[in-house]
Subunit: 176 residues, 2 copies
């Protein structure tokens, strides 16, 4: 993959995916945020080959999502605990889970996100912090940020001009 493409790497989504863009990495983070910490625990949960698990754990440590801690001297054994950055990945997992349960669960909701105290399954929604207005693709879009360079600015300005209205609101009108 051409992961170093300039414009791609200006995007925080691409940067995030560089850290967790492997299928296994996201599932390891899922388990780590659920409290699993030891190599054997991850292996039993994921049914993953040991060499791949080692590589993915190391990569998550390097990326700053997990911290490696030694819990036994003889033999030397480590556990892997989410860092603050790793804990901040939780909302990504929640939105992935919610999307999966909505669209890919023909047999019902087998796994949910539940309140730790009440046990009630969450019905999460993404909102703007100040106004609590739901954030959807009809009212929000990617845009150049305050620290964008001229090329990124130009790219998003051109995109906004080419697509003045959301494709979701007028899918038929775009190719006239």
């Amino acid at each position: 993959m051409h992961r170093k493409s300039f414009e791609k790497m200006a995007c925080p989504i691409a940067r995030s995916l560089e850290r967790v863009g492997e299928w296994w990495s996201m599932l390891i983070m899922r388990d780590a945020l659920h409290g699993l910490a030891r190599f054997d625990e991850f292996q039993a949960s994921l049914g993953i080959a040991p060499n791949i698990l080692t590589r993915r754990l190391n990569s998550l440590v390097d990326a700053g999502l997990l911290e490696r801690r030694q819990y036994s001297d003889h033999p030397p054994r480590h556990e892997y605990v989410p860092t603050a950055c790793g804990r901040d990945f939780f909302p990504v997992l929640v939105t992935l889970l919610t999307w999966g349960n909505k669209h890919f669960a023909p047999d019902g909701q087998r796994v949910v996100i539940a309140n730790r105290n009440t046990g009630a399954a969450v019905d999460p929604v993404l909102v703007e912090r100040a106004t609590r207005v739901p954030v959807g693709e009809s009212n929000y879009a990617l845009a150049a940020g305050p620290d964008a360079n001229p090329r990124t600015r130009q790219r998003y300005a051109a995109m906004a001009e080419a697509r003045p209205s959301s494709h979701s609101t007028s899918p038929q009108s775009r190719n006239k």
Copy 2:
């Protein structure tokens, strides 16, 4: 990869990742939700090899995230437009972007999610729909859902018992 592992596939996160768990797929969805629709547009945006782009687009159509529409007869040309399922992927991109801007943007926010009308960058937060209480890993966790089978139930019950408190609130106390 052993993608068919029983317990893994009961999880809606795993099911979601099966659809978009490739780096490129998420970036294609990012661009598609931004209004890009044609092969050339995706290729120019992503700098991706044509054969890989073809494969990823087909896979997103098969997974139900994009709809293929013919916009030219001579020569036959198609565009790719997000389905309702694809549009529902937007919150995942927003949480990935927010996480990336918080942790992996040493040079500042170059790309943001902005309100389509006001242009203001969003500060999104995931909340419980009814109560508007923020959803974080300190107060929420994965749990067996209403349609879980006995094995999934047992798995999450065992995990909850082994880890009564959040690892984030008492990381030191777990290995006593």
